[in-house]
C-alpha cells in the first residue's frame, strides 16, 4: 500500500480536526483497555504470563532460520506447498500467478496485516482478480478505500451512518437502517454469496508452529474459517516472524493474544490447519500454499537489538493504551502498521529517512511497554533509532541531524562535565531567554521553540538558580 509516513505531521494535524475519529478515540480505546485488563486478570500471575510470552517470542526470533526450516519441512510433509518470497513484489507475483493459473475471477480474503503491507489487493485487482475482504471491518475499509485505522479494527472509527450509506450503495442492502445487527446481516448476506462460489481463498497467519507444520488463525467472525475451508485453493501468507517452536508455545501466545487484543480468553474461532484436506476429510482446500514473506525481516534479524521488533504478535494493546494514538488515530502513521507497534516496526521495514516522525512523535511515556504481552520495550527502541540518526547509520538509513542541533550537543557535552562552564552557560542564556518575560512568565517566543508557546507559558529563568540559592540556605538555621 501507499507509504505516507513522511506526511505524519500533516496527517496528524488533519486527524486532530476529524470529529468522528476523535469521538471514537475518546471512548473506544479506553473500553478496549478495560476489557484487556479484565481478561489479563484471569491469569493467576499476570507478570509471569507476560514474561513467559516474552521468553517464547525472544527464543522464536533468536532461532528464526532454524525454526523456519523446521516449519517448512513439517508443513511440506503435511502436504502444503511452501513458497519463500524475498519481498512484497515477489510475494504478490506468486499469489497473482497462482490465481491466474487457476483462472479465478475473484478471491475472498481473511484479515491479514502482511497483505496490507504488501499491497496485495491493488496488484490483484489491477490484474483482473477481484479481492473481497470478508472481515466486516476490513470489508468496510476496503469499500471506502481507506487504510486501516486500527490494526485489529480497521474501520472501527467509521460512523454507523456512513456504514449504512455504504451498504445501501455497495452491499445490496434493501432498507436503510442504523441497527448494527441489521447492518451485520446485510454484510453477511452479501459476503455469503462470495463464499458460495469462491475457488481461491487468501488469509494471513497468526502463528506457524515449527514442530507440527501447523498454521493457526484467530478470528471472531468465522470468515477466515470460510475462506480456509470453502475454496479449492487456499493461500496462507505469513511474515517470517510468525513461526514459534512448539504447539505449547503457540497455545500460550494464543492466551496472551486473545486477552490483549479483544479482551477475550479465547476468540470465537481458532483454526489450526496442518496441510490441505486429507483423503478422509470432508472440508478444507485441496491445495494449500504457504507464502513466507521476508520483506526486510531478515535484515532486522541481523541486528540483535532491532530483533526485538520481530516479537510483535499484532494484538494492538499498545495502540489502545497509547496517549498519542488516542489523539490522532491510525491514519496519521501513514502505513499498514500504526500506534507504537508501527512506530517500532515501520522504521525498520521502510528505512529511517522516511519514518522520522514515527519515533519522534512520542513522549516516551512507556504505556505501550507496560501493556505489551511479549516484552517489547518500545521507548528504548525509539531512543535506539534516534541514536542511529545521530550516527548517520547506513544500515537502516539513519537521517543526518541538523547542523544546529549537532553543534548544540557539542557545546552541551563540553560543559556537562565542567560545572564552571555549565554555570557560565546558564548565566549567559538567562537574559536571552528572559528577554520577553513579564512578571516572571514568558508568554511568547519566536524561532525554534515557538511550538511550546502556542498554548503554553513558561516560567522565566529564575533570578537565582538553585545552585546560587544553595549558598544562602545551606546553613540550616537560616531556613
Amino acid at each position: 500500500m501507499e507509504v505516507r509516513t513522511e506526511k505524519f505531521k500533516d496527517l496528524a494535524r488533519a486527524e486532530l480536526q476529524n470529529i468522528y475519529s476523535r469521538r471514537f478515540l475518546k471512548v473506544g480505546p479506553p473500553i478496549m483497555v478495560m476489557k484487556r485488563d479484565l481478561a489479563m486478570a484471569t491469569f493467576p500471575d499476570i507478570p509471569a504470563a507476560r514474561a513467559y510470552g516474552a521468553a517464547i517470542k525472544a527464543e522464536a526470533v533468536a532461532r528464526l532460520p532454524e525454526l523456519l526450516e523446521e516449519f517448512e519441512k513439517n508443513a511440506t510433509a503435511n502436504g502444503a506447498k511452501v513458497f519463500w518470497a524475498r519481498d512484497d513484489r515477489e510475494a504478490n507475483q506468486m499469489i497473482l500467478q497462482l490465481a491466474k493459473e487457476r483462472g479465478v475471477p475473484y478471491v475472498t480474503k481473511g484479515k491479514s496485516m502482511v497483505t496490507e503491507e504488501m499491497g496485495l489487493n491493488e496488484i490483484l485487482s489491477k490484474n483482473g482478480v477481484e479481492p473481497w475482504e470478508t472481515d466486516l471491518g476490513e470489508f468496510i475499509a476496503q469499500q471506502l478505500n481507506r487504510p486501516p485505522f486500527h490494526i485489529v479494527g480497521p474501520a472501527i472509527n467509521v460512523p454507523v451512518e456512513e456504514v449504512r450509506d455504504l451498504f445501501m450503495a455497495k452491499a445490496n442492502m434493501k432498507e436503510p437502517t442504523l441497527d448494527p445487527v441489521q447492518l451485520g446481516y446485510a454484510a453477511r448476506l452479501f459476503l455469503r454469496d462470495k463464499f458460495h462460489h469462491v475457488r481461491f481463498g487468501i488469509t494471513g497467519v497468526n502463528m506457524a508452529v515449527a514442530e507440527t507444520g501447523t498454521i493457526i488463525n484467530v478470528e471472531n467472525e468465522g470468515n477466515i474459517r470460510f475462506t480456509k475451508s470453502c475454496p479449492r485453493t487456499q493461500v496462507s501468507v505469513m511474515s517470517l516472524e510468525k513461526v514459534v517452536p512448539t504447539m505449547k508455545d503457540a497455545l500460550h501466545l494464543l492466551r496472551l493474544l486473545c486477552r490483549s487484543c479483544t479482551g477475550q480468553r479465547l476468540s470465537a474461532y481458532v483454526s489450526m490447519d496442518s496441510g490441505p484436506k486429507k483423503k478422509d476429510e470432508v472440508d478444507g482446500p485441496e491445495e494449500l500454499f504457504i507464502v513466507i514473506v521476508d520483506n526486510g525481516r531478515s535484515k532486522i534479524y541481523q541486528d540483535p537489538k532491532s530483533r526485538e521488533a520481530l516479537r510483535c504478535i499484532r494484538c494492538a494493546a499498545c495502540l489502545n493504551i497509547c496517549p498519542v494514538y488516542r489523539q490522532i488515530g491510525g491514519y496519521a502513521y501513514g502505513w499498514a502498521y500504526s500506534g507504537p507497534m508501527g512506530q517500532v516496526l515501520n522504521p525498520l521495514l521502510l528505512g529511517m529517512k522516511r519514518t522520522q516522525d514515527l519515533y519522534r512523535a512520542t513522549t516516551l511515556c512507556g504505556a505501550c511497554k507496560d501493556h505489551c504481552p511479549v516484552g517489547i520495550d518500545h521507548p528504548s527502541m525509539f531512543l535506539y533509532y534516534r541514536a542511529k540518526d545521530v550516527l548517520d547509520d547506513p544500515y537502516f538509513q539513519g537521517q543526518r541531524r541538523p547542523w544546529v542541533e549537532k553543534r548544540f550537543f557539542q557545546g552541551w557535552s563540553l560543559a556537562v562535565n565542567r560545572s564552571w562552564l555549565w554555570n557560565l552557560g546558564t548565566r549567559m542564556i538567562r537574559p536571552l531567554l528572559n528577554k520577553g518575560a513579564r512578571e516572571g512568565i514568558i508568554r511568547e517566543m519566536k524561532g525554534p521553540f515557538s511550538g511550546w508557546f502556542r498554548q503554553r507559558d513558561l516560567p522565566a529563568l529564575a533570578d537565582k538558580t538553585f545552585r546560587e540559592r544553595w549558598k544562602e540556605i545551606k546553613n540550616p538555621e537560616i531556613v
Binding site: 496517549p323 513522549t363 512507556g366 504505556a367 550537543f409 503554553r456 537565582k464 545552585r467
Partner: protein, 245 residues
C-alpha cells in the same frame, strides 16, 4: 544527622528553584541533612532522548564521579532518577568498570516521595491544607519507578486535606521534552485532556512530583485557566499549599 545528597534536575535548578528549596526543607523536617554537590550539572536525559548517546555517556560518567561516593541520592524528579537507574547501565554496558559503578549507584538513588515514605518511613511532614487536591501520576514515576502510593500517602497525611480522584490520572500529560515543542498540536490535545480531567475532578489544586509535567500542565493552565494551579508535591508540602520552602 544522616546526610543525603541532593540531585537537582536542570529544570528545577533553572526554572523552578523553589522546588529544590522545598526539597531541602522537607528533608530537614524529616531529620536528615541534605548536602548539595556544586559540581553537578545535567543527568544527560536531553542528550539520550535526542539520540546523542556519546554525549549522554559523558554526562553519566560525570554524574557517577560526583555522586558515586554518596550513600543516598535524592531528587524531586522521577524521570531524572530513571535516567540514572535504567539508562546509565545501558549506556555504559561496554565499559565494565563504569558499568560496575553505575550499577552500584543505581539502588542508592531515590525520588523524593519514595525516599520519604519507603526509606525514612515518614508520611506526615506536618503540613496542613483546607481544600481538595488531585494527583497526576507522572509516567516515569509511575511506570519507570513504580511509585504511586508514596506520594498519595504523603498527601493523605496532610491535615484538613481532601484528595479527590482524577480521571485518567495515569495518562501522559503530553510533555515528553522536545515532543511538546516539535509536535505542539498533539501535545496540546493531550495536556488539554489532562486539564479537563483536572477541572472535572473538582480539585482546587493539581499535585504532581515531576518538574517536566509541571512545566507542561502549569504552562497550559497559566495560559488558558489562570485561576487554576498545578504544584509540585514538595513545594505544596513545604508551603502548606502555597508555593514555598
Amino acid at each position: 544527622m544522616k546526610a543525603v545528597s541532593l540531585f537537582i534536575p536542570c529544570t528545577v535548578d533553572l526554572f523552578l528553584p523553589h522546588i529544590g528549596e522545598a526539597t531541602v526543607s522537607l528533608l530537614r523536617r524529616a531529620g536528615v541533612n541534605p548536602v548539595y554537590h556544586e559540581e553537578q550539572t545535567c543527568c544527560g536525559q536531553p542528550a539520550i532522548n535526542a539520540g546523542y548517546q556519546r554525549e549522554a555517556r559523558k554526562a553519566a560518567k560525570h554524574f557517577i564521579q560526583v555522586f558515586g561516593g554518596d550513600e543516598i541520592v535524592v531528587s524531586p524528579s522521577g524521570s531524572c532518577v530513571c535516567m540514572v537507574k535504567d539508562h546509565y547501565p545501558e549506556l555504559l554496558a561496554d565499559e565494565p568498570e563504569w558499568l560496575r559503578r553505575a550499577e552500584e549507584l543505581a539502588p542508592r538513588v531515590f525520588e523524593l516521595s519514595q525516599y520519604l515514605v519507603d526509606v525514612l518511613k515518614v508520611e506526615d511532614v506536618g503540613a496542613s491544607f483546607g481544600g481538595k487536591v488531585a494527583y497526576h501520576e507522572s509516567c516515569h514515576i509511575l511506570r519507570g519507578l513504580g511509585v504511586s502510593q508514596q506520594p498519595k500517602k504523603l498527601i493523605s497525611a496532610v491535615k484538613g486535606i481532601q484528595m479527590v480522584p482524577l480521571n485518567a490520572a495515569d495518562s501522559c500529560c503530553g510533555f515528553g521534552g522536545e515532543f511538546a515543542n516539535n509536535y505542539p498540536e498533539i501535545s496540546e490535545a493531550m495536556v488539554q485532556d489532562k486539564v479537563e480531567n483536572y477541572l472535572a475532578s473538582g480539585a482546587d489544586l493539581l499535585l504532581l512530583c515531576e518538574p517536566g509535567c509541571l512545566l507542561n500542565i502549569g504552562g497550559y493552565l497559566s495560559r488558558n485557566h489562570p485561576g487554576k494551579k498545578a504544584m509540585h508535591l514538595a513545594s505544596f508540602l513545604a508551603g502548606n499549599g502555597r508555593e514555598g520552602r
